[in-house]
């Protein structure tokens, strides 16, 4: 299948109510409806999902890996941003 006829789509699956969609993988498909079906057939065969998003891979804007110094390194030294200085109540399940 040519890349032009069946472009790539990124698949996001939400496993349960209250959770967020997570990236599951990608599929090739001719259009949005077929991408949705392909995602269902490939990534939810074992009851993995209750909701599917598909997004054209070409629509995803990614950072340049060469910029990772300025993008991500500055956070490494800021330990006070991590919420590790207090205890979470058990009732807060999915932080």
């Amino acid at each position: 299948m040519s890349e032009q006829a069946t472009p790539l789509w990124e698949v996001f699956i939400r496993a349960r109510n209250g959770m967020s969609h997570r990236h599951a993988g990608s599929v090739h498909a001719a259009d949005a409806e077929m991408a949705l079906q392909a995602a269902r057939d490939v990534y939810t065969r074992r009851g993995e999902g209750l909701s599917i998003w598909v997004v054209p891979s070409a629509a995803i804007v990614a950072n340049d890996p060469d910029e990772k110094g300025e993008m991500f390194e500055p956070t490494a030294s800021k330990i006070y941003r991590h919420p590790t200085f207090y205890e979470l109540p058990d009732e807060v399940a999915n932080m």
Partner: protein, 252 residues
């Protein structure tokens, strides 16, 4: 003579339909156009295997001679199979497989929907599950019919060939012999004529969207329910039954 010969025959017909179309779909495993469709077709095959297993098991219980699902599926010969001729037609190309599935699922979806009201609890229970699966089979095959019909000249020609070849096998789905009519009268079976308008509606609307012309021919093939099959069935049964015939009682 068993207590309910008609119900046994009816369940065996439905079981054979599911087993044979499942075997046809399984032939695509490792051969479909791309990975996504390979899995999609075998998912559909697995749904049909599930229906076949429940129906064979139930038929074996009705018969009461100790035959289980394996005995009924793998230790019967061609002439004993009562599936529709439509489901045994070969995978000449992807368009044939898609059109066969579409014409069948466009019937099976309203069929299972109606079967949910059956007075037979086993059949009604299976219908509740099968109806959702059939809805997806129909959606998947219909979307492909539309894309092949409304796609390139090549895809249009291939799906047109498939439609014209398979059309004569669609009449059998609506046959109503004594087995069916006696069970319809008891509120157990689905009267196929009662859902024909739904099948016609689905087929017409999808063919229109696919830029395909509904074949004009009205002559229909028949014989599958009575065990008179096309030459293809024997070639389906031989790989399908090989293992159980070589190693009877083999367990997964």
């Amino acid at each position: 003579m068993m207590k309910d010969q008609a119900l046994f025959t009816y369940c065996m017909r439905l079981a054979d339909d599911s087993a044979i179309i499942s075997q046809r779909l399984s032939e695509w495993c490792g051969h479909a156009s791309h990975l996504e469709e390979d899995i999609a077709l075998t998912n559909v095959a697995l749904d049909h295997i599930g229906h076949a297993r429940e129906l064979y098991t139930y038929a074996g219980q009705i018969e009461g001679k100790g035959r289980d699902e394996n005995a009924l599926c793998f230790h019967r010969v061609e002439r004993e199979f009562a599936n529709l001729l439509l489901v045994e037609q070969p995978n000449d190309d992807f368009a044939y497989a898609i059109m066969r599935q579409f014409l069948f699922s466009a019937f099976m979806h309203p069929f299972w929907e109606a079967m949910k009201a059956s007075k037979d609890e086993q059949l009604a229970g299976l219908a509740a599950k099968a109806e959702k699966e059939a809805a997806y089979h129909l959606r998947h095959s219909a979307e492909w019919v539309i894309r092949l019909g409304d796609g390139t000249e090549e895809s249009h020609n291939r799906i047109t060939d498939a439609l014209e070849f398979l059309w004569m096998y669609t009449g059998e789905m609506f046959e109503c012999d004594e087995v069916v009519s006696s069970l319809v009268a008891k509120g157990v079976a689905v009267d196929p004529m009662s859902i024909k308008h739904l099948w016609v509606e689905t087929v017409n609307s999808v063919l229109t969207r696919a830029n395909l012309e509904r074949p004009a021919q009205s002559w229909m093939q028949t014989g599958g329910r009575g065990g008179e099959h096309s030459e293809h069935l024997g070639h389906i049964l031989s790989p399908m039954q090989y293992l159980q015939r070589s190693f009877p009682q083999a367990q997964w």
